[in-house]
């Protein structure tokens, strides 16, 4: 069961990454970034790395997205 969930999460990870790269609008790809981060967090928890999962949840899914949104606002894209 856990193997099935793990493989499904891997497939979702690849799909999210491709969406993030090949979509036309920059806002779409920036909003897909925390989704990518959250899937990665669940994968880390399954791989028994709670420290890395916590850091990833706060940094990649929280702070980095805020930085990207500020950049888009400043450059008026």
């Amino acid at each position: 069961m856990i193997n099935l969930i793990f493989n499904l999460l891997m497939i979702f990870l690849v799909i999210t990454a491709f969406f993030m790269v090949f979509t036309k609008d920059i806002s779409n790809s920036v909003i897909a970034l925390p989704v990518f981060g959250v899937i990665l967090v669940v994968i880390f928890v399954i791989l028994q790395a709670p420290d890395a999962a916590m850091a990833e949840a706060i940094i990649a899914a929280g702070l980095t997205t805020v930085f990207f949104v500020i950049t888009i606002n400043k450059t008026e894209y």
Binding site: P50, D51, A53, M54, A55, I58, I59, G62, L63, V66, F67, I70, T71, N73, K74
Partner: protein
């Protein structure tokens, strides 16, 4: 003609990337093989002796703050450098972003959630050697508080509550405190940043005050990372 040229260029890029992927496949296949039939003596030592030598239950923390504490010092220096670069790049000016007025629900929710965030961050920092978390994660949670204040109430209010000079002072205290705690190992006749070998009294394993210097190092790294990330965020948002 130019269209064909562009097509060719794109094909060239894709071919390069596919070649890189095949190369990586070979390299990673070796790593994957190496996984099965090799013994990792260093990790075996850390797992079997780590708790007794350092007194910390969380082995990641004991690797970060005892065995390889010098790397952690370098990592803290990277954050200091990033904050310095952003302060250099961005001139001192008024913020131009965020003229939006929120409804009262947003203001009240922010007001109520800030104490819980402070408690969570301090808990993560102090219990870094007993549970997942540690100085880095707790510091980032603490730096969320000025970010929330800036986003909801604006830069002026946030900087009147938490002044930039004060944040810089806190970051310097964190960096200098880390180095002074490391020099404590030299004073007692051991190496720089020594903790387990210097015999600071590991205490009872599993209690809050145990594991020698690790909780104090966690506090220093926590306030340093929190202040540094708050400075980075405010510098980014103040760019005209």
């Amino acid at each position: 003609m130019s269209k064909i040229n562009e097509r060719l260029k794109k094909l060239h890029t894709i071919a390069l990337v596919v070649a890189l992927a095949v190369f990586l496949l070979v390299v990673v296949y070796e790593i994957h093989n190496l996984d099965n039939n090799s013994k990792r003596y260093l990790s075996e030592h850390y797992i079997s002796e780590g708790v007794r030598e350092t007194g910390a239950i969380n082995l990641v923390t004991s690797v970060l703050y005892d065995y390889r504490a010098f790397d952690t010092l370098g990592e803290a220096t990277v954050i200091l450098t990033a904050a310095a670069i952003l302060s250099l790049l961005v001139p001192v000016s008024k913020a131009t972003m965020l003229g939006t007025k929120f409804s009262i629900i947003v203001y009240q929710t922010t007001k109520f959630s800030i104490p819980f965030l402070a408690v969570l961050g301090v808990h993560l920092i102090f219990f870094g050697h007993l549970s997942p978390g540690g100085g880095f994660v707790g510091g980032v949670v603490l730096s969320i508080i000025p970010i929330l204040l800036t986003i909801t109430y604006g830069v002026e209010f946030s900087e009147s509550k938490l002044k930039p000079a004060k944040k810089k002072l806190v970051e310097d205290i964190g960096a200098i405190g880390f180095i002074l705690l490391g020099l404590l190992g030299v004073v007692t006749g051991s190496n720089f940043l020594a903790n387990g070998q210097a015999n600071f009294g590991p205490g009872n394993t599993g209690e809050l005050i145990s594991a020698g210097l690790i909780p104090y190092l966690n506090v220093m790294i926590g306030i340093k990372v929190g202040a540094g990330l708050a400075i980075i965020f405010n510098s980014l948002i103040k760019e005209k």
